[in-house]
């Protein structure tokens, strides 16, 4: 029992270690335009060893290697898409924080639209049905009083017969 408890650390903020932002100036390209492109590519690539970070925010060693690789490809004249494909060829679509639109992700990309249409459809159906149903709103005070009077009337009437 004890060893199990020992194994359960407290709230762990994995990989978000205390050090500052992960990308460092020595990695950056001299050309600010290319560097800006590289930064934007970094933000779309997932750090593989971290829990859920892009390689720009991660201070893992592999993230740094990938940032350097991104810059190498950018310098070599690759387009943004080519750089991403270069990494995808090695690690799969898993590295893309924005998954591509393909057979595996149709539901992911079409899902929000389906959900919206579904919700709107449900609302329309609900509305139609609700408006067709008889009005079951509670009686007004006046109606209650009249109803009570009627019931009282019929009660006395029954007694009479």
């Amino acid at each position: 029992m004890r060893s199990r408890f020992a194994a359960l650390a407290s709230l762990v903020l994995l990989m978000v270690s205390g050090s500052a932002l992960a990308i460092t100036p020595d990695e950056m390209l001299a050309n600010p335009k290319l560097e800006a492109r590289a930064r934007s590519i970094d933000k779309e690539l997932r750090c593989l060893v971290c829990q859920n970070e892009n390689i720009d925010d991660s201070n893992a060693d592999l993230a740094r290697d990938l940032r350097l690789l991104v810059r190498k490809r950018v310098m070599a004249g690759d387009s943004d898409e080519q750089v991403k494909q270069y990494i995808v060829a090695r690690y799969g679509n898993y590295v893309l924080l924005k998954p591509p639109f393909d057979a595996e992700t149709y539901l992911l990309w079409l899902g929000p639209g389906i959900l919206l249409l579904g919700a709107a459809g449900a609302a329309t159906l609900y509305y139609r049905r609700a408006m067709r149903a008889p009005n079951k709103a509670p009686l007004s005070e006046d109606e209650i009083r009249r109803l009570a009077a009627l019931i009282a009337d019929s009660d006395t009437g029954n007694k009479g017969t």
């Binding site: 762990v12 829990q51 592999l62 679509n93 924080l97 049905r129 008889p134």
Partner: protein, 858 residues
């Protein structure tokens, strides 16, 4: 002694919860008032016992009683008092105690304020609260006992993660839980109403303020979490669409929908089945968040230590609570129809549209968060769904919602007048166009500024739309000033609440738009005396002072002077702290705010000549994001003070006395002939249940895998069945010749990436000789290592490799798709990769997988 008292009180509370969840329920079913009336004493007792238990745990933490495991693992004597207290809920066990404490607090509120509720409704609702409490107390006792003793007691504790030693995070969990658990009120009353088969205005009048309480707390909790992330993590952002963040955002979206639909349920006695459904969904999403954070099903930056055993327990709990309530819903929902009629253009319709968009948004966050899990379960491979996806899909859902937010309140109940409402928005439209034009003129025409202008225009539309609605209500500029003032003073507070909250939302929107469009960033090595220009500010680095002592840390403190046009603006002192217990680093950001924009300075690693990596952000309008969130909460609080909403406001006596007999009859027999639903319609109400069953299936599957040690972070290789990449690596040892791609041809080869700094490699190393013994050539690739370290390592542990090549920079590793050493590849005679193992090989894997597969390739 205190620990045993706490544990004993908790065990007693379990029994009281069992009592509370059965006796009043049976009483209500039989119409036995004596049994029903036991609900309030039970809730009182429950509260007293959990208070004793939670108080004991707090006492143990405050007095640093290191004979208790929970204190040892999460506390230390040198921690400031605030963090000794917040450390109670900074861990799994303690946070579950806080969860339960807040649950019984709400139970107490029902018994205190709910005296005037119909006894049957109250008894059933408290019974449901008792069941939830029972489940959670049982969970704590069986899997997460915080009172476990440790013997011998250590002299001191292990301390708390420095990132959690922060005022923002000290108060974030209590508010978050007040929100999550607060939705249990709406939930319990929804279940009670389903059992009774009746939802009347009294029900909605009770549920609405409590939903508002929960919504305010959750909004504040989420905003606090976001603020904490902004000012402590040093990344300059505030929302990362991380699964754990999404887990709090989903109940917020659903809760916001519930808040709005309960208005219709109360005022117009319609949309009842829908409101009940939202109440179930909102609380279910809160529970789901609790489950996701603790089960290890998803990978997240911030989560509790994962344990599949706990995951299974919470999943079972989820199954009972959510599954049970959805079954009840499917059976009873049709009995809840009816109510006031309204035209397609009316306040009701506006709120219905609000619900459509908010539900679709909650569903979208849900889909994006869990999609990787679904893909994985169906064997379709691994995907990541990150911020770029969410930003892209949420935008088209949010924009129409916000456009509508200005229009809806202008429509009257039952039948609204759209042209009239739109004509009242003339002023807002002009303000919107002016805001867009001003933004474009001020910021120049670029793709950034167009987006910013649209965002700011949207915010202006909402802000001035809300303002116009208020102006219309008081007849500003149409009546005499004194008349308007009189009306303004007598406007219901709930109306003010709405106006303030909607305006708060507009301000949040401004913050989002501004920070997305105009964030400026500077990242450079700075030496003392150098300065940086960021967004018109000159930020001079004066220097860094080492060994600054804090209460339980030492820091390196940088000093920066911010000036603008030669005028002094601020002195900023970001720090790099190293905490004593546990010895972990933490960077402390320094922020100067002028309430419109922030200058945000992060001190990074030191370099040569007293240089430091310095990261500076200029974050325009971010402070408004947090002000806006606070304003939303303020609106909620103002609304809560409305006489009409006052918690526990007695039901209108008259209405209670004159309960219409016709309704009572229908309620007592919900399946009476006149209400009998057509069988064909019933399946619609089974859909949520079916959806949940599928979801639970996915969770069970994932937990099962986790049991076998397959964590979600394991990524299958895409290199399998592809030719090995081109490489030509030098040898590690002088006696070798190096290794290149061509050397793989003609024989089946095993390639192993290893490094002396890799701990699991040491574990694996002893078994690697089994590969060569089986007659398979084993090639070692020394990954990102220093040759002398690698050689010393081999000298110590032996050399099981046929040859060893050096991949000093890890480039070949990346080409192979290596993400964590050790990794082992099986390559066939043609040089094609046929299999890959991530993590240390074991004798079993070598004997049962690697060797047989290699034999087949021969």
């Amino acid at each position: 002694m205190i620990a045993e008292v706490g544990l004993f009180a908790l065990i007693l509370a379990l029994f009281v919860a069992a009592f509370q969840s059965t006796v009043p329920l049976v009483g209500a079913a039989r119409g036995d008032a004596a049994w029903m009336n036991l609900d309030r004493p039970a809730a009182f007792a429950q509260f007293a016992l959990i208070t004793i238990s939670f108080g004991s745990l707090m006492w143990l933490h405050v007095t640093s009683d290191f004979s208790v495991m929970n204190v040892v693992q999460n506390s230390h004597t040198d921690k400031p008092l605030l963090y000794k207290i917040s450390g109670v809920w900074g861990n799994h066990e303690g946070s579950m105690m806080l969860w339960t404490f807040i649950l019984v607090l709400y139970g107490l509120a029902v018994s205190v304020f709910g005296r005037d509720l119909p006894p049957g409704l109250r008894a059933r609702a408290l019974a449901v609260q008792g069941m939830i409490g029972f489940g959670f107390i049982l969970f704590i006792l069986m899997t997460s006992n915080p009172f476990t003793r440790v013997d011998p007691a250590p002299l001191n504790g292990q301390g708390l993660n420095p990132l959690l030693q922060d005022p923002g995070l000290a108060f974030h969990p209590p508010f978050l839980y007040l929100g999550y658990v607060g939705f249990s009120m709406a939930f319990s009353f929804a279940i009670a109403a389903l059992i009774e088969g009746r939802v009347d205005a009294a029900w909605a009048r009770w549920v609405r303020p409590w939903t508002l309480v929960a919504w305010c707390a959750l909004t504040l909790g989420v905003a606090m979490g976001s603020w904490w992330s902004y000012y402590t993590l040093g990344w300059g952002g505030y929302w990362a669409w991380d699964p754990v963040e999404n887990a709090s955002f989903m109940p917020w979206l659903a809760g916001t929908a519930l808040l709005h639909s309960s208005i219709v349920a109360e005022k117009r006695d319609t949309m009842k089945a829908w409101t009940i459904f939202l109440a179930i969904v909102t609380f279910s999403l809160s529970l789901l968040g609790t489950f996701l954070v603790r089960s290890g099903i998803l990978t997240s930056v911030h989560s509790f230590a994962n344990d599949p055993a706990r995951g299974r327990f919470i999943l079972a709990l989820l199954g009972i609570v959510i599954g049970g309530s959805l079954i009840l819903y499917a059976i009873r929902a049709l009995a809840l129809k009816g109510g006031g009629l309204f035209s397609p253009i009316s306040r009701e319709s506006g709120l219905l549209f609000n619900n459509v968009f908010l539900s679709a948004a909650a569903g979208t966050v849900f889909l994006g968060t869990l999609y990787p899990l679904f893909m994985d379960a169906l064997g379709l491979g691994k995907v990541s769904v990150g911020p770029p996806y969410f930003n892209m899909v949420m935008l088209p859902l949010m924009v129409p919602l916000i456009l509508l937010m200005a229009v809806g309140p202008l429509l009257s109940w039952k039948r609204g007048d759209l042209p009239e409402a739109l004509s009242r928005l003339k002023f807002a439209l002009i303000a919107t166009l002016l805001a867009i034009a001003a933004t474009l003129i001020f910021a120049g025409l670029s793709s950034h500024s167009v987006w910013a202008a649209l965002g700011i225009g949207l915010a202006a539309w909402l802000f001035f739309g809300a303002l116009s609605e208020w102006a219309g209500r008081i007849g500003l500029f149409q009546r005499s000033f004194s008349d308007s003032l009189h009306r303004a003073l007598h406007l219901p507070r709930s109306a003010y609440g709405m106006t303030i909250s909607h305006m708060g939302m507009a301000i949040v929107l401004l913050g989002v738009a501004g920070s997305l469009a105009w964030r400026a960033e500077y990242l450079e090595v700075m030496h003392p005396g150098e300065s940086a220009m960021v967004a018109g500010y000159r930020i001079a680095f004066i220097g860094a002072q080492e060994n600054v002592a804090g209460p339980n840390y030492t820091a390196e403190r940088g000093t920066f002077i911010v000036t603008r046009d030669g005028q002094f603006v601020a002195e900023l002192q970001p720090e790099r702290r190293v905490y004593a217990n546990p010895p972990e680093p933490k960077s402390t950001v320094a922020i100067h705010t002028n309430f419109v924009s922030d200058i945000y300075v992060v001190l990074g690693d030191p370099g040569a000549n007293n240089g430091h990596v310095v990261h500076i952000f200029h974050n325009p309008l971010i402070p408004w994001l947090f002000f806006g969130a606070l304003m939303m909460v303020l609106g909620g609080i103002v609304s809560l003070t409305d006489r009409h909403h006052r918690i526990g406001a007695p039901l209108r006596r008259l209405g209670a006395r004159f309960r219409p007999p016709a309704i009572a009859v229908a309620a007592a027999s919900p399946l009476a002939v006149e209400h009998r639903p057509k069988a064909a319609r019933r399946w619609v109400y089974l859909l949520p249940l079916a959806g949940f069953a599928v979801l639970a299936g996915f969770f069970i599957w994932r937990l099962h895998l986790a049991d076998q040690g397959i964590t979600p972070s394991l990524i299958p290789s895409v290199m399998i069945d592809k030719p090995a990449p081109d490489f030509d690596l030098p040898p590690l040892l002088a006696s070798d010749t190096g290794f290149k791609t061509a050397d793989l041809k003609g024989k089946v080869t095993v390639v192993n990436f290893f490094a002396s700094w890799c701990v699991p490699c040491r574990e694996e190393h002893g078994y690697l000789s089994l590969v060569m013994q089986a007659g398979l050539p084993l090639v070692g690739i020394n990954y990102k290592d220093r040759p002398e370290d690698a050689k010393a390592w081999l000298a110590e542990l032996g050399n099981p490799f046929k040859t060893i090549a050096v991949d000093a920079h890890g480039r070949t590793g990346i080409d192979f798709g290596v993400y964590g050493v050790p990794e082992t590849y099986l390559i066939d005679k043609q040089g094609v990769i046929r299999q890959k193992w991530t993590g240390p090989l074991t004798p079993d894997v070598i004997r049962d997988e690697l060797i047989p597969q290699a034999e087949k390739l021969k």
